[in-house]
C-alpha cells in the first residue's frame, strides 16, 4: 500500500494543572491527559471521522494536526514530512498543505474583511502578487464552494451572509491554497438542518474531485456516518474503536460504541431503541480510572477490565476495538435501576 497521507504515532498531549500549596509541599504534580498514545493513519483521499463526547480529545487531535497546539510527545507525518518543524519556511509549506475549517462561521471570519479579502489573504501570505491571478483564484474557490454567482459575493461582508454562506466562505478560504489535508471541526453543528446536508455534500465533492484527505471531528454520529469512510471512537484520550463507518455503526464492538450509538435519536417512530443504561458522568481527566477508562460506566465491567491497556484487537481487516472481551463474550452485570418516579402532589 502507498504511504498514508497522515500518520499519527503515539501522540500524547498533557496539560499541567495549577498546583495548590499542599501539592507544592508534597511535591505532587497533576496533569490532564488529553491524549494518551493515539495511533492513526489516514490514506490519501480518505475521510476519517473522529467521534466522542466532550473531553475525549477529538478536538485536541485535530488542533495538533494543524499545529494550533504542540504535542507533548509522539509524531505526525503529513505526506511523508514530519510536522513539528521549527523553521519558518517549513511552517509556511505546512500551512499550504494542511488547512482547517472551524465550527463557528460567525466567529472565524474577520468582520472587517469582505469575502474577497478573506479568501485572498492566504494567497497574499504565500507570496502571490499578480492581482489578476489572485482574482481568478478567489473566484474559482468560491465557485467550488458553490457560492454562486461568485462575482456577487466577493464584496460582501460576513454580516451580510447567512450561516451557510459564511461556512462556504470559510471552506473557500480553506481550499484556495489547494491543500492536501483538510481538518474540519464540527463544521455543520451551528447550521440549520436544511443547509447542513449541502455543506456535507460539498465536503464529499471536494474529496471526490481533488482527492483531498479529511479529518472530520464531530460529536454527531449521524453526520459522520453520512460523510466519512472510517470512524474512530475516542474516550478520555484513547481510541476505543476504529473501522469502516458502516461496519462500526452496524456492528459496534466496544461497549462504549454500543452505548453511544444507542443514544443517537432516530427519526422513525417505529424504531425500537435498545437502550443501554449507563452512568452519565465521565470520570475526571486527572484521576483516570485504572485499566479500561470506560470501566466505571460499563455495564459489562469485569475484574479483567482493570488490566486493560487499550490495545486494539482485530475484528476484521480494518475494524479494531480496545475492549478486552470480544462482543459475544460480554456479559451484562446487574442492570442499573431506572430512576424512581413518584407522584407526590403538593
Amino acid at each position: 500500500m502507498a504511504e498514508p497521507m497522515i500518520d499519527i504515532r503515539d501522540l500524547t498531549k498533557t496539560y499541567p494543572i495549577k498546583r495548590n500549596l499542599k501539592d507544592l509541599i508534597g511535591g505532587v504534580r497533576h496533569e490532564v491527559k488529553a491524549l494518551d498514545g493515539i495511533n492513526l493513519t489516514i490514506e490519501k483521499g480518505e475521510i476519517l471521522g473522529l467521534a466522542g463526547e466532550s473531553g475525549s480529545g477529538k478536538t485536541t487531535t485535530g488542533e495538533i494536526l494543524v499545529r494550533l497546539q504542540d504535542a507533548t510527545s509522539g509524531g505526525i507525518t503529513v505526506d511523508g514530512h514530519p510536522i513539528g518543524l521549527k523553521g519558518k519556511h517549513d511552517r509556511k509549506r505546512f500551512r499550504k498543505d494542511v488547512q482547517m475549517i472551524f465550527q463557528d462561521p460567525y466567529e472565524t471570519l474577520n468582520p472587517r474583511f469582505n469575502v474577497y479579502d478573506t479568501i485572498a489573504e492566504p494567497l497574499r501570505i504565500h507570496g502571490l502578487k499578480d492581482k489578476h491571478v489572485m482574482y481568478d483564484k478567489v473566484i474559482e474557490a468560491l465557485e467550488i464552494a458553490e457560492l454562486r454567482p461568485a462575482e456577487q459575493f466577493i464584496y460582501r461582508f460576513p454580516h451580510e451572509l447567512s450561516g451557510g454562506q459564511r461556512q462556504r466562505v470559510a471552506i473557500a478560504r480553506g481550499i484556495v491554497l489547494e491543500p492536501k489535508v483538510l481538518v474540519a471541526d464540527e463544521p455543520v453543528s451551528m447550521l440549520d438542518v436544511s443547509i447542513r446536508a449541502d455543506i456535507l455534500n460539498l465536503l464529499k465533492q471536494l474529496r471526490d474531485k481533488f482527492s483531498l484527505t479529511m479529518l472530520y471531528v464531530s460529536h454527531d454520529l449521524s453526520t459522520i456516518k453520512y460523510l466519512c469512510d472510517r470512524i474512530a471512537i475516542m474516550y478520555l484520550g484513547k481510541i476505543l474503536e476504529i473501522g469502516p463507518v458502516n461496519d462500526v455503526v452496524a456492528d459496534p464492538q466496544h461497549p462504549y460504541t454500543q452505548v453511544l450509538l444507542a443514544s443517537v435519536p432516530v427519526a422513525d417512530p417505529d424504531h425500537v431503541k435498545e437502550r443501554i443504561m449507563v452512568d452519565d458522568e465521565v470520570p475526571d481527566q486527572i484521576h483516570l480510572p485504572q485499566g479500561c477508562r470506560f470501566g466505571p460506566r460499563c455495564p459489562y465491567f469485569k475484574p479483567e477490565c482493570l488490566e486493560c491497556d487499550h490495545t486494539l484487537r482485530m475484528v476484521s481487516d480494518n475494524h479494531r476495538h480496545a475492549c478486552v472481551f470480544a462482543k459475544d463474550e460480554l456479559i451484562r452485570n446487574d442492570v442499573p435501576k431506572p430512576v424512581e418516579v413518584e407522584e407526590k402532589p403538593l
Binding site: I195, P265, A267, E281, V339, V341, K344
Partner: protein, 349 residues
C-alpha cells in the same frame, strides 16, 4: 380531551431599527391536557418567540400584536404582569436552551431551588427543602447535590437541576426550548427520557422546541412544523414521519441524516428563509419550493385538513403522492437552486 392551551390567531411583532418584524404571523394551535408537542423549524422561524410569548418573556421590543392565548380558560394576553408572574413556575415552567448557565454562581443550587419554591407557595423553608430533595431525586440527582455550587456540577447535572426546578411545583405546562442541545449524546438521551417520564408522571403537558426532528420523533405525540412565522404542517408524530405532506416537511426529511440508514443521499433545501422585515406575499416557502406555481407566489395557503388531526398549509395538498415521489430526487431540488441563482443574477443587473 380537555384543552389546556389554545393559541388563537396570534401574531407577534418586534420593533427593530429596520422596521417592524412580524416573527409570528396568525398562528393557531391547541394543546390537550397531558399532550406532548414538538415545535420544529429553522432558526428564525418563530418557534422560540411563540413559546416565550406564552410566558410573557419576549424581549422588550416584542409584543403580541393580535390574537389570544387561552390557558385554562383565561386569556394570558390580557393578564397583568403580576398575574403572569404568579403563573410562572406554578402553572407554566420553562427549561430554556442555556438555562444551565443561568444558575447564579455565588449561591448553591439548592438555595436557588428553595427560593423559587418559596416565592410561589406558602411553604416553610423546611417543607421547601424537602420538596427540593424530592424533585432532585426525581431527576436522578443525589440530595447532597443541593449543597453544590453550579461550578461543581457538570453540564448534564446543571441541566437536570434546572429541570428539577421547572418541575418543583408540578406545573400543568412545561415549555422546553432545546433542553439538551449543549449536552453530549448519551446525556441528551437520558435527560430526554427523564423529561418524558416525569411529564407523564405529573401529568402535565409539554411543548418541546427543537431543530432536531429525530428528537421529536422519540419524545412527542404531535409535531408542528413552522417556517417563516407560520405553521406549515401539524400532525401526530407517528403519521408525520411516515407520511409528511407539506413540501417543506418533505425537504426537511430529505436533509436529515439518519444513523440507521446506509447509503442514503441527503438533499438540502436550497435558498434561505424569508426576510420577515419585508411584507410577505403568497406562500412563504414558495421561493424554495420545487413545486411552486404562480398561485403560490400570490396567494397565501391556509392550513387545511388532510386527515383527522393532520393539517398542512399548501395549495396542492391533493398532489402529495407526486410530491413525495419527486422530492426524493436531487435534481428536483437542484432546479430550485438554479431558479434562485437566476433570480440573484437578475437582482444584480
Amino acid at each position: 380531551m380537555d384543552k389546556l392551551l389554545e393559541v388563537k390567531n396570534v401574531s407577534i411583532e418586534y420593533k427593530t431599527e429596520a422596521g417592524i418584524m412580524r416573527a409570528v404571523d396568525d398562528v393557531s394551535f391547541s394543546l390537550d391536557v397531558g399532550e406532548s408537542m414538538g415545535l420544529v423549524g429553522e432558526s428564525g422561524c418563530g418557534k422560540t418567540t411563540l413559546a416565550k410569548s406564552i410566558m410573557r418573556l419576549l424581549a422588550k421590543n416584542g409584543k403580541v400584536s393580535s390574537g389570544e392565548i387561552i390557558f385554562k380558560g383565561e386569556d394570558l394576553v390580557k393578564k397583568t404582569d403580576e398575574q403572569i408572574r404568579k403563573l410562572r413556575l406554578n402553572d407554566i415552567a420553562m427549561v430554556s436552551q442555556s438555562a444551565m448557565n443561568a444558575l447564579n454562581p455565588v449561591h448553591t443550587v439548592g438555595k436557588q431551588l428553595i427560593e423559587g419554591i418559596q416565592a410561589h407557595t406558602k411553604m416553610s423553608k423546611d417543607e421547601a427543602r424537602r420538596r427540593a430533595a424530592e424533585v432532585f431525586k426525581m431527576v436522578g440527582l443525589e440530595e447532597k447535590r443541593l449543597k453544590s455550587y453550579p461550578h461543581q456540577m457538570s453540564g448534564g447535572m446543571k441541566q437536570r437541576a434546572i429541570i428539577a426546578m421547572a418541575l418543583s411545583l408540578n406545573p400543568s405546562l412545561i415549555i422546553a426550548d432545546e433542553p439538551t442541545t449543549a449536552l453530549d449524546v448519551v446525556v441528551q438521551d437520558h435527560i430526554l427520557q427523564q423529561i418524558i417520564e416525569l411529564q407523564k408522571a405529573i401529568s402535565s403537558s409539554m411543548i418541546l422546541i427543537t431543530h432536531d426532528i429525530s428528537v421529536v420523533s422519540e419524545t412527542c405525540e404531535t409535531i408542528i412544523v413552522m417556517y417563516g412565522g407560520k405553521i406549515m404542517e401539524q400532525a401526530p408524530t407517528k403519521v408525520f414521519f411516515k407520511a409528511p405532506v407539506h413540501p417543506y416537511s418533505l425537504g426537511l426529511n430529505n436533509a436529515f441524516p439518519s444513523i440507521t440508514e446506509i447509503g442514503e443521499i441527503l438533499i438540502s433545501i436550497p435558498g434561505t428563509p424569508p426576510n420577515l422585515l419585508e411584507a410577505q406575499r403568497g406562500c412563504r416557502f414558495s421561493e424554495r419550493c420545487p413545486f411552486a406555481t404562480g398561485k403560490c407566489e400570490t396567494e397565501e395557503p391556509k392550513l387545511e385538513f388532510v386527515d383527522e388531526n393532520h393539517t398542512s398549509a399548501c395549495h396542492y395538498n391533493d398532489q402529495v403522492e407526486r410530491f413525495r415521489e419527486e422530492s426524493a430526487k436531487p435534481e428536483v431540488w437542484a432546479k430550485v437552486s438554479n431558479r434562485i441563482f437566476e433570480r440573484r443574477k437578475e437582482g444584480a443587473s
